[in-house]
C-alpha cells in the first residue's frame, strides 16, 4: 500500500496495528498534495498544524495502549462550506471570507475526528453550492484528476478531485440537487448521498434547507460505510435531522446483492443521455442480472419542483448579500440568485405540495422494488469551459443538464450511492444505486457487490 493512496480502512488498520504511524500517513498525504494540487486545485485551505498535533496524539495513544478510534490516522478533507474552527466558512464565495472565523468544527467533522480521522483542510466548491461544473471564479477551476482539461463536476468539486487524485481517501461534500453525485461520477469515485435528514448539517453553510444533504466521497464502498456509520446520530441544531437509530452499514456490506429486488429506471432516465451513460447503467445491470424496468412517475416534474424550491430558498437566504454586494458574486451564480429572489410564493408552495405528492408515489413504488439503477450524469466529464451538451442532434445547456438525473431523486430525499464505471481510454461514468428512505445499507451492499465484481472501481488517478 502506498501510504497516501490506501483506502481509509487500510490506513486505519495499519495505524491501529502500529505498522505505520499517523505521523507517517500525514507526511505522505502532505507530499501527495504538494505534488498534484497545484494543477488540480482541490484544496482552498490546509489545516496542517492541527493535523500534526492530532497525529501526534494518535501515535501517543497507540504507544500508551489506548484505542485511537476506528478511523485512526485517516486523512480527510471537507467542502469549504463546513465550519472549520479558526477559519471563516467561505462556501466557495468571496463575500463569506469577511465572516468571523468559526468557533468550532461542524458536527460531522467532530464525529470523524472523535473516531480518529485527521482533518487536512477545506476543499474548493462552486460558489454557495449553486454549481455542477467545478468552476469557481474566486478560487480557480477545480480540475478532473483523470484528465485536467476536463471538469471535476460540482458543486463538491474539491471533494471529488481530492479523493480521485489520491490526496485523501475520504472527503465530505454536500448534495442539494446532485452536488455529491455529479463530481463522484465525473471524477470516477464512490459517493453517498444519504436519506434527507439522516446526517446533521449543523455547522455547515446552507444552500437550500429543504434539499441540503451531507455525505462522504471515497475510493471504496467500505470507506463510505465506515465513515457514514460514525457520522450518524441526531443533533438538535439541525431541525431537519431525523431521530433515527444508527444504521450499521459496514457490517452488512458483504451480504451482497442476493435477494434484493432490483430494476433499472426507464422512461425519463432513458432519455437525454449520451449512449455511454446508458451503457454504464446496462453494464451494472448485467453484472447484477437485473432485467426489470420500472418507471419513476413524474420525474421531470420532480426535477422542476426541485429547481423552483432551490432558486426560491437559496435566493431568500442570500437576499441581503444580493442587495449590498451583488458585484462580489461569481458571475455564474449571480443572475440565478437575483432571479430567484423574484419568484412568487405561489410557485414555491405549489412545488412543495407537488414534492409531497411525488414522494408518496415513489415511496409506493419501493414496496415492490428494493433498488433502482439510473445514470448519474448524461455524459462523462465535459471539457473545462464547455457551455453546451450535444445529445444526438439536440444541443442543450450543459450546466443545468449535468443534474438531469440526480435532481429528481434528491428532490424527495431518497438515499443514493454513486458507483464509478471506468472506461479504457475515456473518462468514467457514474451509476446511481437508489434505495428507499433510510435504507442506505441496501444501496451500499449493492455498491460493494459491484466493487467486488470489479464492475465499479475507483483507482487513484495516474494522470496527475
Amino acid at each position: 500500500m502506498t501510504l497516501a493512496q490506501g483506502s481509509a480502512a487500510e490506513i486505519a488498520a495499519s495505524v491501529r496495528s502500529g505498522s505505520v504511524s499517523a505521523g507517517d500517513v500525514l507526511a505522505a498525504t502532505k507530499a501527495r498534495i504538494e505534488n498534484v494540487d497545484g494543477t488540480v486545485k482541490a484544496f482552498t485551505d490546509l489545516t496542517l498544524e492541527r493535523a500534526e498535533k492530532q497525529a501526534q496524539e494518535i501515535d501517543a495513544a497507540i504507544a500508551a495502549g489506548r484505542d485511537p478510534g476506528p478511523l485512526a490516522g485517516v486523512p480527510f478533507a471537507v467542502k469549504n462550506l463546513f465550519d472549520i474552527k479558526g477559519l471563516p466558512t467561505r462556501a466557495g464565495s468571496k463575500i463569506n471570507r469577511d465572516r468571523a472565523p468559526a468557533i468550532e468544527d461542524a458536527v460531522l467533522i467532530r464525529r470523524l475526528t472523535k473516531a480518529g480521522a485527521v482533518l487536512i483542510g477545506g476543499l474548493n466548491m462552486g460558489e454557495y453550492a449553486y454549481d455542477f461544473t467545478g468552476e469557481n471564479v474566486h478560487d480557480g477551476i477545480c480540475r478532473n484528476p483523470r484528465n485536467t482539461d476536463h471538469m471535476s463536476g460540482g458543486s463538491s468539486s474539491g471533494s471529488g478531485a481530492a479523493v480521485a487524485a489520491g490526496m485523501v481517501p475520504l472527503a465530505l461534500g454536500s448534495d442539494t440537487n446532485g452536488s455529491i453525485r455529479v463530481p463522484s461520477a465525473l471524477c470516477g469515485i464512490f459517493g453517498l448521498k444519504p436519506t434527507y435528514g439522516r446526517l446533521p448539517r449543523s455547522g455547515t453553510f446552507p444552500f437550500c434547507d429543504s434539499l441540503d444533504h451531507l455525505g462522504p466521497l471515497a475510493r471504496s464502498v467500505r470507506d463510505l460505510a465506515i465513515s457514514f456509520d460514525v457520522m450518524q446520530g441526531h443533533d438538535p441544531h439541525d431541525a431537519a435531522c431525523a431521530r433515527k437509530p444508527v444504521l450499521e452499514t459496514a457490517i452488512t456490506l458483504d451480504v451482497g446483492a442476493n435477494g434484493l429486488r432490483m430494476a433499472v429506471a426507464g422512461d425519463y432516465f432513458n432519455r437525454g443521455a449520451r449512449p455511454e451513460a446508458l451503457e454504464a447503467v446496462a453494464k451494472v445491470a448485467a453484472a447484477l442480472s437485473v432485467t426489470r424496468e420500472v418507471v419513476i412517475p413524474e420525474a421531470a416534474r420532480g426535477r422542476a419542483a426541485a429547481f423552483v424550491i432551490t432558486t426560491s430558498e437559496s435566493s431568500a437566504l442570500h437576499i441581503d448579500r444580493l442587495r449590498t454586494r451583488a458585484a462580489d458574486f461569481d458571475p455564474d451564480t449571480r443572475y440565478r440568485f437575483l432571479s430567484g429572489a423574484l419568484v412568487p410564493a405561489t410557485w414555491y408552495i405549489k412545488a412543495q405540495r407537488f414534492r409531497r405528492w411525488y414522494h408518496d408515489q415513489v415511496l409506493a413504488l419501493f414496496k415492490d422494488v428494493d433498488i433502482i439503477l439510473a445514470p448519474a450524469t448524461p455524459c462523462a466529464a465535459p471539457q473545462v469551459g464547455e457551455k453546451f451538451l450535444t445529445l444526438g442532434e439536440e444541443t442543450v445547456s450543459l450546466r443545468p443538464n449535468l443534474g438531469l438525473f440526480t435532481q429528481p431523486i434528491s428532490c424527495i430525499g431518497f438515499p443514493v450511492v454513486v458507483v464509478p464505471v471506468q472506461r479504457e481510454g475515456a473518462l468514467p461514468l457514474g451509476v446511481q444505486i437508489i434505495a428507499a428512505p433510510w435504507r442506505e445499507d441496501l444501496a451500499l451492499r449493492v455498491a460493494a457487490e459491484l466493487q467486488r465484481l470489479g464492475v465499479a472501481t475507483a483507482p487513484v488517478a495516474t494522470g496527475v
Partner: protein
C-alpha cells in the same frame, strides 16, 4: 405558458424587484430576465399539475417515510 405565470415578465421583473427591495443593476438585467423566463417555463410544469385540496400538505418540513 400556464395562465398562472405572468406573461409580461419584463414588467414583472421591475415590479417584483421593487417590492422585495432588490434593485437589479442594468448590467445584470438581461441575464436575470432570461433566467426568470427559464424559471417560469420550468415552474409551469409544476403549476399546471392538478392537485386537490386533500393534497395540500407542503413538504417544507420534510421527513421521508418508511416502507411498511
Amino acid at each position: 405558458m400556464n395562465m398562472a405565470v405572468p406573461v409580461d415578465l419584463d414588467a414583472y421583473l421591475d415590479a417584483a424587484s421593487a417590492i422585495v427591495a432588490l434593485p437589479i443593476a442594468p448590467e445584470y438585467r438581461a441575464e436575470v430576465l432570461a433566467n426568470l423566463q427559464r424559471t417560469a417555463a420550468i415552474a409551469a410544469a409544476v403549476l399546471e399539475f392538478p392537485m386537490s385540496d386533500e393534497e395540500a400538505e407542503a413538504a417544507s418540513v420534510f421527513c421521508p417515510g418508511e416502507i411498511e
